[in-house]
Amino acid sequence: MADGGVRTAPVARAAPVSPAVPAGTSAQVIGWLLLLPAMVLLVAFTHWPALATAWHSLFSTPKGARPARFVGLENYELMLEDDVFWQALWNNLWFALGTIPTSIAIALAMALWVNGRLAGRGFLRMAYFTPTVLPMIAVANIWLFFYTPQYGLLEQVTGALGFPSHNWLGDRSTVLGATMVVAIWKEAGFFMIFYLAALQQISPTLAEAAALEGASRWQYFRRVLFPLLMPTTLFVLINALINSVRMVDHIFVMTRGGPDNASALLLYYIYQVGFSFWDSAYAAALTVVVLAILGLTAFVKFRFLDQRTHYQ
């Protein structure tokens, strides 16, 4: 419906000229006002929940008619005796140690590989990035069948090579490793994108200069490329650390923490305590511990690694 009158109507009542900022308003207030939207979000969804969690961890879990009462550090004392917590903590440590360096190394290798001039580069990049795009739940369901004894993909390959059959997810000694492989496969492509972006920023004149000086390719990588990639590595390292604690979707689908907690990770255990056992106070205490560990690690990383990182 083309009705000129309607369209012009609001224009006729155009907004009055907005008053200029009063000269007396200090830059301080404007600064805070500009910060406000971001701060509201941060406080509402990050700082307040963290503080509330710490506060709740000092109370007992309310149940039916029994309200929460102050118990001090009882939940933390409980944790010291909780074997499953310790196992989950150790598992998580191994999980982090197993996934972080490997996925970073693979990401870097892949980035160097697809950064060069080669045929089908776009296709390769896409192939490496695909695991990142897929939802973890779907991925875990696929991998579940990869690991299936006897007719799973892995078994078919090892079987063709003459290795004996193995129940990867049903054996305490291999289950954690099996879940690590899934995590690495999922993450490496994601980290590759960051390395690829960083590599494209590096001026080709550096390579030429290094070549003129007679540096080998390894020397060029070791002395020029890698130090220049350090800011990216730091960023990726932090992300990988967060992911190693955060990524538990595949545990739900593939093992549910079993057999006998051999693949229980901290966040999965927190979920279990919070939403299967409905012990929200203890879950809060566990969360505080995870938060403390993560905070400490991030602090150490920024404090010490940042000093050795060269920003352009």
Binding site: P164, S276, F277
Partner: protein
């Protein structure tokens, strides 16, 4: 002109808003949370049920809400309850009963079903399904989608092994004997076909009850505050389970994934499997060979746990809404509906009367295997359910998996599980 259109639109909107409001005074709206735990178009079936019910009861409106798996559903229901807006009714695991009671979330059904007609309806269910629905002299849940464990066997592989294809193992010894004949090894010594698979991932305690019940052991008391994990019969049952792989080599070692077990059966890498009756439709569609369904083999007696979901009615709702919820539950569990639900999903029809309906009789003629689960009900016991249910269950699950992976001896594993359960349940005694 614009203004007139706008006014008309406004008037229409006001009218539309006013209409349901006027209507709502005599109409009760119920929200109904339900999980989906088996394959098939369950959501469609539930929506159709709600629509059919509304047609017969125009004063009640049912709003079905798909809430995910059983685990996700109870999380959603309890979170909603704690925020003051619970669903009016929900289908949740029968074993969640104690958790829901402890949270003060549910209403005893017998406090709502007070008329003679109601009482007769409530007494019409299979007794073994009611075991997980009653405690402390009250009924808290109404059986709806219930199942038991049965044994499926591949008739072709039985024939190849020189066994009678129409005869399933009836005892523990027979199962080992059959499984030994069925297990096949290739030239390199690698097993290509396992005699039997009893899954042990996720909820091994349930499958384990398929071994303890035939051995005459119960795992907990009716009050749900005591467990008997370290009784000799229970240890013996676990020893048998462990021996299937460790001693007799007829079952793969380690933990066997629940989710891939039916697939193992289709792929002919397992000749016999234990799984829920709820998988009947799945196996019927996907098995490319004749198969049989049998009760679990006996030791001292036959036996299996029941499983699956019950209807619950929630607190923090008005009396009128609670009565409306009861009306829907009664309607949904009436013989014809129960039969219809059982045929559509593979769950066991929950009342003897449902099995007498023409629709069910016709189904049984087509799928005679469906009756096995019903006949097994006579020997069935309640699924493991206690206060702090998931925590106690986890203690047992961890112990079972430790034994099956060879980390602990059966007796030590069960002693540890019992000690943990005692610690958790102490405050409920």
């Amino acid at each position: 002109m614009i203004r007139r259109t706008l006014l008309q639109a406004l008037a229409a909107a006001a009218l539309m808003a006013a209409l349901p409001a006027a209507h709502a005074q005599k109409q009760v709206e119920l929200s109904f949370y339900y999980p989906v735990a088996v394959g098939g178009p369950v959501t469609k079936t539930i929506d159709r049920m709600a629509a059919d019910f509304e047609k017969e009861n125009p004063d009640i409106k049912i709003k079905p809400v798909y809430a995910g798996t059983y685990q996700e559903s109870i999380v959603k229901v309890l979170t909603a309850f704690k925020s003051g807006q619970p669903p009016h009714l929900a289908v949740l695991l029968s074993t969640d009963m104690f958790t829901l009671i402890d949270e003060g979330a549910i209403v005893p059904i017998d406090s709502l079903a007070t008329s003679a007609d109601d009482k007769q309806w409530l007494s019409g269910f299979f007794d073994s399904f009611m075991m997980n629905s009653r405690t402390g002299g009250k009924t808290w849940g109404v059986p709806f989608q219930r199942s038991t464990i049965v044994l499926y066997w591949n008739k072709e592989l039985f024939e190849e092994a020189g066994l009678d294809p129409d005869k399933a193992p009836a005892t523990w010894d027979e199962m080992v004997e059959f499984a030994k004949k069925l297990t096949k090894t290739d030239a390199s010594g690698k097993v290509t076909l396992w005699g039997v698979k009893i899954p042990s991932s996720g909820f091994p305690y349930w499958l384990f009850q398929g071994l303890t019940t035939p051995n005459g052991a119960l795992l907990m008391n009716e009050a749900g505050n005591e467990t008997y994990f370290d009784k000799p019969e229970v240890v013996e049952a676990l020893q048998y389970w462990v021996d299937l792989s460790a001693k007799h080599k007829v079952m793969p070692g380690g933990v066997i994934e629940w989710g891939t077990t039916p697939k193992d059966f289709f792929e002919r890498t397992a000749a016999m499997i234990w799984t829920t009756t709820g998988n009947l439709t799945n196996i019927r569609t996907n098995a490319g060979f004749p198969f049989g369904v049998a009760m679990l083999p006996a030791k001292k007696q036959r036996g299996s746990p029941t499983g699956g979901g019950n209807f619950y009615v929630f607190e923090k709702t008005s009396d009128e809404e609670k009565q409306a919820a009861l009306k829907f539950i009664k309607w949904a569990t009436a013989p014809e509906r129960a039969a219809q639900w059982s045929i559509a999903t593979g769950y066991v029809a929950v009342t003897p009367a449902a099995w007498e309906t023409p629709a069910m009789k016709k189904y049984v003629e087509e799928v005679p295997q469906a009756t096995v689960a019903r006949d097994q009900l006579e020997f069935s016991v309640a699924e493991l359910s206690t206060h702090e249910n998931q925590r106690v269950t986890k203690a047992l699950n961890d112990g079972l998996q430790a034994a099956l992976t060879g980390a602990k001896a059966p007796e030590a594993a069960l002693k540890d599980a019992q000690r943990e359960a005692d610690r958790i349940l102490r405050s409920y005694r």
